[in-house]
């Protein structure tokens, strides 16, 4: 499982990249592997205010639907429209072209509560491999 060292993580399998004053969010390699083929991604709207820990996106496979949660509170500034025509990108390049959305964080301290790559690595290795993320 690919767990890039420079990213931060949530226990609900989102990754977070700090980019200046914004954060970019996607789902991890582990998550895309569990979900298997992504057929549709329901993204939040630009301008939407989100609260840390609340579900703001849904990923669909053929047989299931998975909630994706906001890692921090803030306002959505951009969404990855590529996923509308090519949801498979989430499986192919989860940390790159398969990003979900960008947000402007409301409380910078929330980023400190996110997991490091080591902590996340430990989480996915002790976890049973079955059941949705």
């Amino acid at each position: 499982m690919n767990v890039p060292r420079e990213l931060r993580y949530t226990k609900t399998h989102e990754w977070v990249k700090q980019l200046g004053g914004r954060v970019v969010v996607g789902i991890t390699d582990y998550a895309q592997h569990e979900i298997s083929d992504v057929v549709f991604v329901e993204l939040p709207q630009v301008g939407q205010r989100v609260e840390a820990g609340k579900g703001i996106s849904i990923v669909e496979s053929v047989k299931a639907a998975f909630d994706i949660y906001a890692p921090v509170s803030g306002e959505i500034r951009a969404i990855n429209t590529l996923l509308e025509s090519d949801p498979a990108m989430v499986n192919q390049d989860p940390y790159g072209k398969g990003w979900f959305f960008e947000l402007a964080p409301a409380n910078p301290e929330e980023a400190d509560a996110l997991m490091t790559s080591d902590q996340y690595d430990q989480l996915i290795n002790t976890r049973s491999t079955h059941g949705p993320p």
């Binding site: 083929d37 057929v39 549709f40 669909e60 053929v62 047989k63 949801p87 498979a88 079955h130 059941g131």
Partner: protein, 496 residues
Amino acid sequence: MTTDVTRGSRTEIKLLLEKSKAGKEGVFLPKRKFPELNFSRLVGEKLQREIPPRLPEVTEPELVRHFINLSKRNFSVDTHFYPLGSCTMKYNPKIHEEIAELAGFAWLHPLQPGRQVQGMLQIFYELQEALGQLTGMDAFSLQPAAGAHGELAGMMITRAYHESRGEGERHIVLVPDSSHGTNPASAAQYGYQVVQIPSDPRGRVDLKMLAATLDKRVACLMLTNPNTLGLFENDILKIRDLVHGKGALLYYDGANLNALLGTVRPGDMGFDIVHLNLHKTFTTPHGGGGPGAGPLGVVSALAPFLPVPIVRRTGELYGLDFDRPQSIGAIRSFYGSAGILIRATVYIRMLGLEGLKRVSRDAVLAANYLRKKLSPAYPNPHDEFCMHEFVLSAAHLEKQNIHAGDIGKRLLDYGFHAPTVHFPLVVKEALMIEPTETESKETLDAFADAMLRILKEAEERPELVRNAPYTMPVGRPDEVQAARKPVLSFRDLEHE
């Protein structure tokens, strides 16, 4: 224009629009009576259709061959054993079809005056009464077109009831984590917040968690009994007391009534609202996904809220009662899926109480028999007597990279429809099996034999199971592609 193509043992049945040829007609239609009424001129051009619809142009013989050959690609109860858990795929008696098609039923207009349709209204009334007797509920509406439709009406009644008592702030509906998907969907559709109650290690509703979650914000608990694990919620009377103690209502999802027909009644268990699935318990045909019917029964305190109209009897006269000021209103046009209601009524009349009790008896016997034959070869997470269905797990095959769905596909090659797979969610790699009471012991034995053979295949030649089926008109469709690039009509196909 193209025609069906056979290569080897497989035939590709083209779409009718692919087989069409200009000038062909499928039926002898009458000529115009008043051809002098030239509508292209009489009606403004603006109102007219611009181009004719691209509907098929095929002759009747071609049409018949097309649909008959399509029908032969289906499994059906008439041709195969269908052990689908929570679906109750029992035999559909042919007398039901004969009676439902009588002109005196099929050719009735719902707006004919009541006295012209007394025979039909009598059937509605007798069905209301019979379902009341069988469920122990005080009043019934026959309007809902499906179980989920009944659930939605049940949610509406729940809200109307609480509001009538000044408790409209109750905004939460509880469902067990093993519930059918329609339960939370119905509650949410009507604006309720859904809270899930976990199952305990015995597979039943966790009473402690239930008690902890019940408070004055809860409007209703929705339950199926037996539950989707096929287990009887033996603490149902305690559950009833807990729920009613907090002023909430108890809703019964009747999908599993086949286990209890004539033997135990939801009304006696303390349920306030009950929906039945006539296309399950009362054997109206599944039709490839419908039509069904989902009659809704309630206790007398809730009767005023039932959808209008209800059928009443005054003396010898049957009539539609629209005068129900507290009703939630109409949930569909007219009064109910009469054609389906007739079939269920014939069933109840022919079986009588002894026959209906036998349904429950034999359904439970058949399920326990199969359960004994299939476990422990397939682990049974709840190793106790089941009711009309039971759940096995295929999780031990994970190491071969085989899932419950694969077992289901391989069963098709053995001439059996798959059981319900990957539901309920509380069991990993679930296989939910409901044989029903209309199968012979020989069929059950053959099914058990096939399941055990497949288990052996899974252990010795897993790739055989993983890539099944092999003998169907098609192999596994690429469902990922179907979802990523939906092609939902002929015109979509052309644009591909």
